[in-house]
């Protein structure tokens, strides 16, 4: 299925290697994690702790708290507020965050 979002050409792009749900992929330097998820073709980034229904980033500016994912083992991170870093491990969040040891 064609990706909901695609990238405009930019020859000056620099790329960053990340992992989404254990799968290696890349993001553009300066992408928010949420943007990277959408660019990678993900349609949802978590399921709700109440009904279990899937949700995805909605506002991209930090006021909706839909874009919560687990980043480097820490859950409930607002992915639209965080810039991708080399080696980042991103996981979709299923229900209530499990990632606190």
């Amino acid at each position: 299925m064609p990706s909901t979002f695609i990238r405009l050409e930019d020859p000056d792009s620099r790329w960053v290697n990340i992992q989404i749900d254990g799968k290696a992929t890349r993001a553009r330097e300066g992408d928010s994690v949420a943007a990277a998820l959408l660019a990678a073709g993900l349609r949802s980034c978590r399921t709700t702790p109440i009904s279990g229904k899937p949700r995805a980033p909605f506002c991209m500016m930090g006021v909706c708290y839909e874009c919560l994912v687990e980043i480097n083992g820490v859950p409930n991170r607002q992915s639209c507020q965080i810039t991708v870093q080399e080696g980042m491990q991103i996981r979709r969040q299923i229900g209530t965050a499990e990632g606190y040891s």
Binding site: R28, C59, M61, V63, C64
Partner: protein
């Protein structure tokens, strides 16, 4: 506790202009920005964006670069990538930067946190594949991402046209543009047209965009009602009523927009009085002509005080900077009046178009205050309109009581997405849509703080 003369909160046009003019008048000033680079939302990434993308976004966007340059050349300091989790009536600010939480304070504070999309619940709005038009703009500006498999744009407001035009020039397939502004709006707006023509560039721009889009074959539907997003786990289509008939357009992406409203979360957290504006359909701070709020030493400017747009915001910001300089003893009232005169004039001119725009793009009452029972209103806690109405009619007759009973507004977003709707539903259910009273009580931390961040809080040497 680290103390400043002036702290400006927000790196958009109002904040940049305020910090610049205050600093240029000799005030020690710190600008706190949650973004990594200045520009706010409207001029997001203006300092770092590739040229080609900048051109795509249009000349207004590029003006932002000038503002940022002026700010960078001033003596104001800049604290980027900083989350603000508290502001209280004693002008103490809680910030979080690089994982470290601290409290700082200032003699004067200018809140310039800008606007947010008006959150309007409609059936299916929580489906993956539904985003706000503002989100589309951010993806375009910050990441060069555009819809790859078609998009429907729906709602009310000039941003839809702007985004559609930007998408058109990026080669994006636009399935349709659905305008939900009531047919009567144009008539309601007509009396304001003479005033608006003084800011004719807005109107002409809008008409030009529309023409280009129509010529390119983009379908327009106006007077759309009963709008639903439908799908199982993700968005599959939109359904709506148009000219008496029910229509459906398949799409995997919907960008909706219902205008912008001040992001009043911070100013309400600080205890500033707000009142409901029946034209802009939002809470606005109660303020004097110099934008001083009801809390001593706190001013609120730009779209965060009331929607006026980026141009008015930079003028308002500059004026607030002069007022701060006066309050901090760098100029007297007369000097401030003289310094502010030009900006006041330009701001007045720019705001002339507002009554027309507000009338033209005034959402229909039911859209905001009467979502169908099964519509999720509180996205975080998944509380639907029916549950809210049940709570109201069992004696919980204001937004806070509804919140306590249903958990509406108690989730991660702390009511940012449902506050407006719940208050309007309460007003309507109690018999008068116009009597919208105060919304949820806003309490800190307004951005989450971990327990260890709080445990390591740098509260300054100030003993409690």
């Amino acid at each position: 506790m680290e103390k400043h003369e002036l702290i400006v909160i927000g790196g958009g046009p109002a904040g940049l202009a305020a910090a610049t003019s205050a600093a240029n008048a000799g005030v020690e000033c710190l600008l706190i920005d949650e973004q990594a680079t200045p520009g706010g939302q409207i001029y997001r990434a203006v300092g770092t964006i590739p040229e080609k993308r900048a051109t795509l976004l249009g000349p207004d966007y590029q003006y932002g670069r000038k503002l940022v340059d002026q700010f960078n050349h001033s003596r104001a300091s800049y604290l980027s990538s900083t989350t603000l989790w508290n502001l209280n009536s004693q002008r103490q600010i809680g910030i979080l930067r690089d994982g470290k939480a601290s409290l700082i304070s200032a003699d004067r504070i200018i809140i310039a946190t800008g606007a947010m999309e008006r959150p309007v619940p409609f059936p299916g709005w929580t489906l993956p594949g539904v985003m706000s038009a503002g989100a589309g703009q951010i993806l375009l500006k910050s990441s060069g991402l555009v819809p790859g498999n078609g998009v429907v744009l729906a709602g009310i407001g000039p941003l839809l046209l702007l985004l559609a035009w930007q998408y058109l020039h990026a080669g994006v397939k636009i399935h349709a543009i659905l305008d939900m502004s009531p047919a009567g709006n144009l008539w309601r707006a007509l009396p304001y047209l003479p005033g608006a023509l003084l800011a004719h560039h807005y109107i002409l721009k809008g008409l030009r965009y529309q023409l280009q889009l129509k010529l390119a074959g983009v379908k327009f539907y106006s007077g759309v009602t009963e709008f639903h997003a439908v799908g199982g786990d993700t968005l599959e289509a939109v359904e709506f009523t148009h000219r008496g008939g029910r229509k459906r357009i398949d799409t995997q992406l919907l960008l909706s927009h219902f205008g912008v409203i001040p992001d009043s979360h911070l100013s309400r957290c600080a205890g500033c009085d707000h009142s409901w504006d029946p034209n802009q359909l939002c809470w606005r701070p109660v303020a004097d002509m110099w934008d001083n709020s009801s809390v001593d030493g706190i001013a609120i400017v730009g779209d965060g005080a009331g929607i006026g747009g980026a141009v008015a915001a930079r003028h308002a910001g500059r004026i607030a900077g002069f007022e701060a300089a006066r309050a901090l003893g760098r100029m007297d009232a007369k000097q401030r009046d003289i310094a502010a005169r030009k900006d006041q004039g330009w701001m007045r001119d720019d705001l002339r178009v507002r009554p027309f725009l507000e009338a033209r793009f005034h959402p229909p009452a039911e859209l905001l205050s009467a979502p169908p029972d099964e519509t999720i209103v509180c996205r975080c806690e998944e509380v639907n309109a029916g549950a809210i109405r049940t709570a109201i009619h069992s004696g919980h007759q204001d937004a806070n009581q509804v919140k306590f009973l249903t958990r509406c507004g108690m989730g991660p977003c702390q009511g940012r997405q449902c506050d407006n709707a719940v208050s309007q539903i309460v007003a309507r259910e109690l018999g008068d849509e116009k009597m919208v009273s105060g919304g949820y009580r806003i309490r800190p931390p307004i951005r989450p703080l971990t327990i260890e961040q709080l445990a390591a809080l740098d509260a300054g040497a100030d003993p409690k």
